[in-house]
Amino acid sequence: MRILIVEDDLEAAEAMERGLTEAGNVCTRAADGEEGLAAARDGEFDVMIVDRMMPKMNGVQLIETLRREGDQTPVLFLSALGEVGDRVAGLQAGGDDYLVKPYAFAELIARVEALARRRETGSVQTLLRVGELEMDLIGRTVHRQGKEIDLQPREFQLLEFMMRHAGQSVTRTMLLEKVWEYHFDPQTNVIDVHISRLRSKIDKGFDRPMLQTVRGAGYRLDA
């Protein structure tokens, strides 16, 4: 993937670039909003990672400008401002996701991958398929190897999210945000319990587990 990093903190930008490059991406860096705007206009990127607060032109202004010009590249905002209002303002400006600093690197990579993937699936799907697993979004049914799996509504949503991001690491925070729409970190392992329930339904009795735990990151659904 080609990733544009617009971040005025050089050390943070370098660490990000190194990590993303090691994960197999090609990165371009810009140190402020104006530089970022020029880079975004010049190049084609799969994802832009944009710091909200920067000299010259802040992240929100940058994305507003790009969106007005018709640029639809997915944007992940990074910000030290984590309150509800800040997040809403970032998303309203045209950001696609919002990550509050400081973050775990696994979280950043998972979100960048999720954003890039989202772009690929342009058409509306009524049927999701990951390996042996099939989900009918209209009939609200799930089958594995042709055998129907009975899921609670929330488990269905959870699996849908995992299937849409199959092959990618998905963090607990992402699940809490995207499936439950809560933007806080519980002190207890609530998500793990939900995942293990889902796992017992889709993996139990089958020869190969699909729902994997990724150490230090979260979970991944493999085909």
Binding site: W180, Y182, D185
Partner: protein
């Protein structure tokens, strides 16, 4: 030289200004009265003298000096005689009731003069009376003086003048007096407020203005200042406590983190040991510190804002249902019996996200402290007062009565739970959320002791009746 405080006050200056305006108006008024009374008396006397003079001149014109003398004789018997003097051209006395003319330099033109006559009163004392007179030359060259004793008129004028002076003095004294009184009154009210401001400036945030219950603007100002100071003091106390608490709760994990890194560094330097474990542990410690930090920030922001942002009307039972859906599997996993009792058709006003987080924090705590085999009950209901109550009751060890107040404070964790994970900010954040909604957090004993379980804790987040 500095004026005494009283004279420097705005009300006193205003009073002085009004006094000056008032005194000017009073002077004009008094001057008119003077002209209309005392001036009138003098004018009347002058008219009488002129009339007498005309009648004598007419007599002279008719029949000469003799006619004048005849007239003077006739008039001498009247009740209020004029003063007469008839003189030759060379100013030698011919006849009259006075010896010589009070007019000093007579040029021949009619001349008015004021003088005084000596008289004897009833007791035989010599008294001087003021008098006025007119002297004029007759056609034959003789000179005639007609005067009148204006003693009575003058006394009348003097009385009026004295009365007017008195009135003027009264205006000034009363005005000043009222000015001083008003200033003192206003100043006393202001001094109280100024003293409070001074005290606060000198660092005494506990100073409060006296509210006298008069409901005037000073009372309103005093009440406003007091309310402002209350909030300021609470906020300052919060910050001070937060400072201590942050130092306390961040310092220990940071110290641990540092020690761990140092040991790992020394081990690696000595060529022994695997740094991976130390690094993983260090990362975990860092996350803990960051979580604490995030919670502190949330609390600080809520307290600084004073009100929850973006409040909306919502169904509190629906919010609770969503949260219980999140926590139910966790309870089941831990062998805790979870139940929810959610009243229907309720409405509450607030920030859903903060309230969801608060509820999650309460449940986190309940799950953390309730042992396997215990129970947790989540309930949403409307109190008879109209307030909306979210309550979570558990069968954990509970919190002793004396400690309940304390656990709500920031960072406080009871000693015996120090080794449990969590920053100890859970209930403080709940309290901050409740306060930001104009509500409160209540802790009470749970269902009581049953065998190994209990007595439990009942945590209630109470929101005001939605308006």
């Amino acid at each position: 030289m500095r004026l005494p405080r009283l004279f420097r006050t705005t009300p006193f200056r205003l009073t002085l200004l009004i006094l000056i305006l008032f005194a000017s108006a009073a002077s004009a008024f008094l001057a008119y009265i003077y002209v209309a009374t005392a001036g009138e008396a003098t004018r009347r006397t002058d008219q009488e003298i002129t009339r007498e003079m005309h009648s004598l001149v007419a007599a002279y014109d008719r029949a000469g000096v003799d006619a004048v003398n005849q007239s003077l004789i006739e008039r001498a018997a009247s009740e209020r005689p004029f003063l007469y003097l008839l003189m030759t051209k060379g100013q030698k006395r011919i006849s009259g009731s006075i010896e010589e003319s009070p007019v000093e330099k007579f040029t021949g033109a009619p001349a008015w003069t004021s003088f005084s006559v000596t008289d004897q009163d009833a007791q035989g004392h010599t008294v001087k009376h003021p008098a006025r007179g007119l002297q004029q030359q007759l056609r034959g060259g003789q000179i005639l003086f007609v005067g009148a004793d204006v003693g009575e008129d003058q006394a009348y004028v003097d009385r009026i003048t004295r009365a007017l002076q008195g009135a003027a003095a009264l205006v000034v004294v009363l005005g000043l007096g009222i000015g001083v009184l008003v200033s003192r009154n206003v100043t006393r009210s202001m001094v109280g407020l100024t003293d409070v401001v001074d005290a606060v400036r000198n660092g005494d945030l506990g100073a409060r203005a006296q509210v006298r219950g008069t409901r005037d603007e000073f009372d309103e100002l005093a009440a406003g200042i007091n309310e402002m100071l209350d909030r300021l003091e609470r906020s300052m106390a919060g910050h001070r406590h937060a400072g201590d608490a942050i130092a306390h709760d961040l310092r220990s994990p940071l110290t641990r983190l540092r020690a761990r890194l140092e040991v790992a560094y020394l081990d690696v330097e000595a060529g022994k040991g695997d740094p991976t474990q130390a690094l993983a542990q260090a990362l975990e410690d860092t996350d803990g510190v960051l979580k604490t930090f995030g919670a502190v920030l949330s609390i600080a922001r809520l307290q600084a804002a004073g009100a929850a942002p973006d409040p909306v009307l919502f169904d509190p039972s629906e919010l609770a249902a969503n949260i219980s859906e999140l926590y139910e599997p966790l309870c089941e996993d831990k062998g805790i019996d979870f139940a929810a009792e959610l009243s229907k058709d309720l409405q509450a006003r607030g920030n859903r996200e903060f309230l969801a987080q608060a509820l999650a924090n309460i449940l986190d705590n309940a799950v953390k402290y309730t042992p396997s085999g215990g129970a947790i009950m989540l309930r949403v209901r409307r109190r008879s007062s109209g307030e909306i109550e979210f309550s979570v009751t558990d069968t954990g060890p509970g919190v002793p009565d004396g400690d309940r107040e304390r656990v709500v404070q920031r960072f406080v964790r009871l000693e015996n739970s120090r080794n449990e994970p969590g920053a100890g900010l859970g209930l403080s954040l709940v309290a901050a959320v409740a306060e930001a909604h104009g509500g409160r957090l209540e802790l009470a004993e749970g269902p009581g002791k049953v065998g190994e379980l209990g007595p439990g804790l009942r945590v209630a987040l109470v929101l005001p009746r939605p308006t």
